[in-house]
């Protein structure tokens, strides 16, 4: 019975952005240097309560993403702890030069929270999708990149980031995510992947919303006698290379699943490590190189095979080969 894991019940209604906002409010009450910056995005970032309770600690810049990052870097340079909360699609594209130069190159202590990331804004089209953000941010030296799996991890991540004096890009989605953790009672460490399920036949590496898909897949595989390891790569950079190499050695096959282009994201990062250290078959599941189809996140995930059904079939094929 050892391998039958207890999973959180489905139906969570709390989005990561709400967990982050609540955590920032709690931390902000104790630290007047903690600031939240919004680009007409306080509603979509769930920062209305923060702004009402701590009006001196929220900076509104209007719809100006270049400006929000520049101003945040100036504030950080002067000892503030700015958390920028702006849609990932704009923050990671419109203001990428400010992120590269003012934040990463100058090493200002700015935390960039890309909200409504991935295909959260499903029906709004490619202009509002951000499935290139990991690729772009990952290539910038001096910038760390993270994605919490659920509300528990979102809270722990923010708590860890408040005193982490480095630039970080955090990507979250818009909608409530099914819990991956039963509670906050686990150890979260920046740069250290969490093995969510032990297994020896194959490994699924996931991040963000796809972690729960990976866990559910592992449970299905378990019922068919396949032991599937699940690694939650909440920190895309710096990448936990040891966990990846260990998984390659011990399970011999890897599937990555991500809410991101198949180019340049988690799958690429994992492949870079595998190909140069311990080559084993790797399959990368994500959004193909096309404007994503219209639909809500779940529909889009299913369409592109980021689903329990597809991932478990792929796992079985890889094992049969």
């Amino acid at each position: 019975m050892k391998n039958i894991a207890l999973r959180p019940t489905k139906g969570n209604k709390i989005a990561n952005r709400q967990a982050i906002s609540k955590t920032l409010l709690e931390l902000g009450r104790k630290n007047r240097d903690l600031l939240v910056l919004t680009s007409d995005s306080r509603g979509s970032a769930s920062m209305v309560n923060f702004g009402e309770e701590l009006p001196e600690q929220i900076v509104e810049v209007g719809i100006a993403e270049q400006n929000i990052v520049g101003i945040a870097s100036g504030l950080a340079h002067s000892g503030k702890k700015p958390f920028v909360a702006s849609p990932a699609c704009f923050l990671s594209m419109r203001s990428i030069e400010q992120i590269k130069v003012d934040v990463a190159y100058s090493q200002t202590n700015v935390k960039l929270i890309g909200i409504s990331g991935g295909v959260s804004y499903g029906a709004l089209g490619m202009s509002h999708h951000s499935v290139q953000d990991l690729a772009v941010t990952r290539a910038i030296p001096g910038l760390d990149v993270m994605m919490p799996a659920d509300r528990h991890e979102a809270k722990k991540m923010i708590e860890a980031l408040v005193d982490y004096e480095r630039p970080v890009y955090v990507r979250i989605g818009r909608n409530p995510v099914e819990d991956s953790y039963l509670s906050e009672d686990y150890e979260f460490e920046i740069g250290k992947a969490v093995t969510m399920n032990e297994g020896n036949d194959i490994t699924i590496i996931a991040a963000g919303e796809t972690v729960r898909v990976a866990l559910d897949t592992a449970d299905v595989l378990m019922s068919e006698g396949i032991s599937c390891r699940v690694i939650n790569m909440h920190t895309i950079k710096p990448l936990d290379e040891k966990a990846i190499i260990k998984a390659a050695k011990e399970t011999g096959r890897i599937i990555t699943i991500e809410e991101h282009s198949v180019y340049g994201g988690l799958g690429s990062a994992v492949s870079e490590v595998i190909s140069q250290n311990y080559p084993v078959p790797v399959k990368i599941l994500g959004i193909p190189d096309e404007p994503a189809i219209t639909g809500n996140s779940k529909e889009v995930f299913n369409y592109y095979g980021l689903s329990v059904n597809n991932v478990s079939n792929l796992a079985k094929q890889m094992i049969d080969n």
Partner: protein
């Protein structure tokens, strides 16, 4: 020596230093560095409250050079002020040097890495806003180019500075009227530039950017209006101080030949001789 004469002499000496740096390195932005020299000299030797022995002093005035490419005058000044040894100027743009072709915060006295145009104003808004939040009295000075005014992010910063009533922010435009392709008015017309800034809620003052006395008078009396950020449009001459470089677009990043260098140094020496 009278203070104004001291500043004028200093500006000539800085021009000699920067020209030597560029001549030796065989690279640099000569024209723009020469046009901003008087402005920087006034800021660093008269206006700004700074301490080279304690470059990160909390109460210091901040300087952000948004037109990062015209960095040679800044390197010469920081060395002369004692932020780093003057000897190090010889490494400018050499392999592994920290004195690169743009401001680099590995060097004491540099606040932020700049060089991508249109970044300095938003950064300065953040610094000025932090001072307001903390009740600190330091001021933030930022220098922009005139060609840089075509960057949209400049105007995002302009709006925010007015919105947050940042009267502790003083922006200066090195209005030398030339950019790499030619006249600013031909490339992307800026005028009426003062009206543009006024309409964005700034207090705008126009000065002769080479008149040291006027620069001191104007900048030391900012902010003129409480609750408003200040824009100083400094009318300058690209290549200022070297007769054959003045107002010549090609000197944007022209590196002087041996003959040009000798002639230029001779001209600058003569300017020094009369400043007593």
């Amino acid at each position: 020596m009278e203070e104004i004469t001291f500043l004028k002499r200093k500006a000539v000496e800085i021009r000699m230093d920067l020209l030597t740096m560029i001549y030796n390195a065989r690279t640099g932005h000569t024209g723009g560095s020469l046009s901003n020299t008087d402005i920087l000299t006034v800021l660093y030797y008269k206006i700004m409250n700074i301490d080279p022995s304690n470059p990160n002093w909390d109460e210091r005035d901040r300087y952000v050079q948004s037109k990062g490419h015209s960095v040679e005058s800044l390197w010469a000044i920081l060395a002369d002020k004692g932020f780093f040894p003057k000897e190090e100027l010889k490494t400018f743009s050499q392999f592994g040097s920290r004195l690169i072709g743009h401001p680099n915060n590995k060097v004491p006295g540099i606040e932020m890495n700049t060089g991508a145009l249109g970044h300095g104003l938003p950064i300065s808004v953040g610094m000025a806003l932090a001072a307001k939040m903390d009740g600190k009295s330091y001021k933030v000075y930022t220098l922009m180019g005139d060609g840089e005014q075509a960057e949209g992010s400049v105007w995002e910063g302009a709006m925010a500075a007015a919105q947050y009533k940042l009267d502790n922010l003083i922006a200066i435009i090195d209005r030398n009227k030339l950019q790499i392709t030619g006249s600013t008015e031909d490339v992307m017309a800026l005028e009426p530039l003062p009206d543009k800034w006024r309409s964005f809620g700034w207090e705008v003052i126009e000065v002769d950017g080479h008149d040291v006395e006027q620069l001191v008078e104007v900048i030391s009396h900012t902010p003129k209006v409480e609750g408003k950020p200040t824009m100083v449009i400094a009318n300058t001459v690209k290549g200022k101080g070297i007769s054959f470089a003045e107002n010549v677009g090609a000197w944007h990043h022209h590196v002087p030949t041996k003959e040009e260098y000798d002639l230029a140094m001779d001209e600058l020496s003569k300017q020094l001789e009369v400043l007593v």
